[in-house]
């Protein structure tokens, strides 16, 4: 049976140098990252090249992405959140594109690697934390002291709020990483059943119909998950950024 973990392996394509004794290499993951960046750029810049009053399909996709993300930002942060729009848009499009590329067989899924998801989540976390401090000063910490809580349980609530704030990047990153990883492993396992069953002869080929149908259904599900996880990541980013802008609950 095909190894379902093989798809997550990182291969060095060429070396870029060393930081300390750690080799920095351009890997297949790097290639897919830059591929995603290129795809998003082509979509957004190419899509808006026509500047047509009545958009072509291509232009429609670019405009839909713009309006989808700007609508999300506007509805969850408000008009003042629009300064984060490029950031949120980059996040959404990067994750969505990386996820969607990953569904194509034989490709690599950038977001199925913990470190990438962690980097994305930490970036959001630090943006929220630093911008929150910059914008609100020390009153940013009111975030941990909810309004209207009786004084005798306030310390407990504050501790819980601090823990929940600090655990945000963990849940934020693991949600994305685990979903992509698990989905791709499941897909690969079922796809592996098809090849190993059909190797058994006529009965095996007949039997392989079931896992094949399952693989097809799972691919559709993964398509949904790819979009949904990008959206969930984006909407959580918006909610966290909203905390940075309006720390008073």
């Amino acid at each position: 049976m095909a190894d379902p973990i093989h798809q997550f392996e990182i291969h060095k394509i060429f070396s870029l140098g060393h930081i300390g004794n750690q080799e920095i290499a351009f890997t297949n993951s790097s290639a897919y990252m830059f591929g995603a960046v290129a795809l998003v750029s082509v979509l957004m810049i190419g899509g808006s090249a026509g500047r047509a009053l009545i958009p072509s399909r291509f232009q429609s996709v670019a405009e839909l992405s713009y309006e989808f993300v700007s609508g999300t930002v506007r509805s969850s942060i408000g008009e003042e959140g629009m300064k984060f729009f490029p950031f949120v848009f980059s996040l959404f499009m990067f994750i969505l594109t990386a996820n969607l590329i990953g569904i194509i067989p034989y490709t690599f899924t950038v977001t199925s690697h913990l470190i990438v998801a962690v980097a994305l989540a930490l970036m959001v976390f630090l943006t929220v934390f630093l911008y929150g401090l910059y914008k609100n000063g020390l009153s940013f910490f009111k975030l941990f002291v909810p309004h209207g809580i009786p004084i005798y349980i306030l310390p407990l609530v504050t501790v819980i709020e601090v823990i929940s704030f600090l655990s945000r990047p963990v849940s934020h990153s693991v949600r994305l990483f685990a979903n992509m990883l698990a989905g791709h492993i499941t897909l690969k396992v079922f796809a592996g059943f098809v090849t190993s069953l059909s190797a058994l002869g006529a009965i095996g080929i007949f039997g392989a119909v079931l896992p094949l149908a399952m693989t097809t259904a799972l691919t559709a599900l993964e398509l949904l998950v790819a979009f949904l996880q990008a959206y969930v990541f984006t909407i959580l980013t918006c909610i966290y950024l909203n905390d940075a802008l309006h720390p008073g609950h």
Binding site: I5, I10, K12, T27, S30, F34, L114, A119
Partner: protein
């Protein structure tokens, strides 16, 4: 060398990293291979930074501009349409006012003509009645004079008849004074 990063880690972990998901094929699990983290982080930082730059400097302003200009065109068109509608409403109102005025004028005119005709008719009728009344009075006067004349003649006829009757009965012609006295007495009686 390309496989080196994965394989060397696999060797380090050894049998301990074997899990059920691995199916016993390979030792390590790529997402947890920490020696690939630095490469991925560097690539990610460059790629995401690049994406952010492209998106914030190029892509979003362009798409936003297209959307804004479309919104502007739509707004202009809507305003134009609203203006045209207002114009047509005003024209319709003017037409209706004009129509109402014309109708009122026509009615006034008709009323005036009717009034005039009625007055004329009234006048003609009055004149006719006056005429008739005059003629009636004249006729009544004629009748009265004729009647008076007739009544005057009756006395003469009565005197003659009475004289004739007396002559026939008595053979003598009565004196007119006697006849007259007798007539006066009977007329009084």
């Amino acid at each position: 060398m390309a496989e080196g990063q994965g394989k060397s880690k696999a060797a380090e972990h050894g049998a301990a990293a074997h899990t059920a998901a691995d199916g016993g094929h390979k030792a390590s699990f790529p997402p947890f291979e920490s020696n690939t983290f630095a490469s991925q982080l560097v690539s990610f930082a460059i790629a995401f930074g690049l994406l952010y730059l492209i998106v914030s400097r190029l892509a979003l302003p362009r798409v936003g501009g297209v959307l804004a200009s479309r919104q502007q065109v739509i707004d202009t068109d809507l305003n134009e349409a609203a203006k045209l509608k207002a114009d047509s409403d005003a024209a319709l109102k003017a037409y209706e006012t004009e129509l109402a005025n014309a109708r009122a004028k026509a009615q006034a005119m008709a009323a005036e003509v009717r009034e005039k005709l009625n007055a004329q008719q009234e006048q003609a009728k009055a004149q006719l009645e006056e005429n008739l009344a005059t003629r009636l009075t004249a006729a009544e006067a004629t009748i009265a004079s004729t009647r008076a004349a007739a009544m005057g003649n009756v006395r003469g006829i009565a005197a003659d008849t009475a004289a004739a009757i007396v002559e026939r009965l008595t053979g003598t012609n009565p004196a007119p004074a006697v006849v007259n006295a007798a007539l006066d007495a009977s007329l009084k009686g």
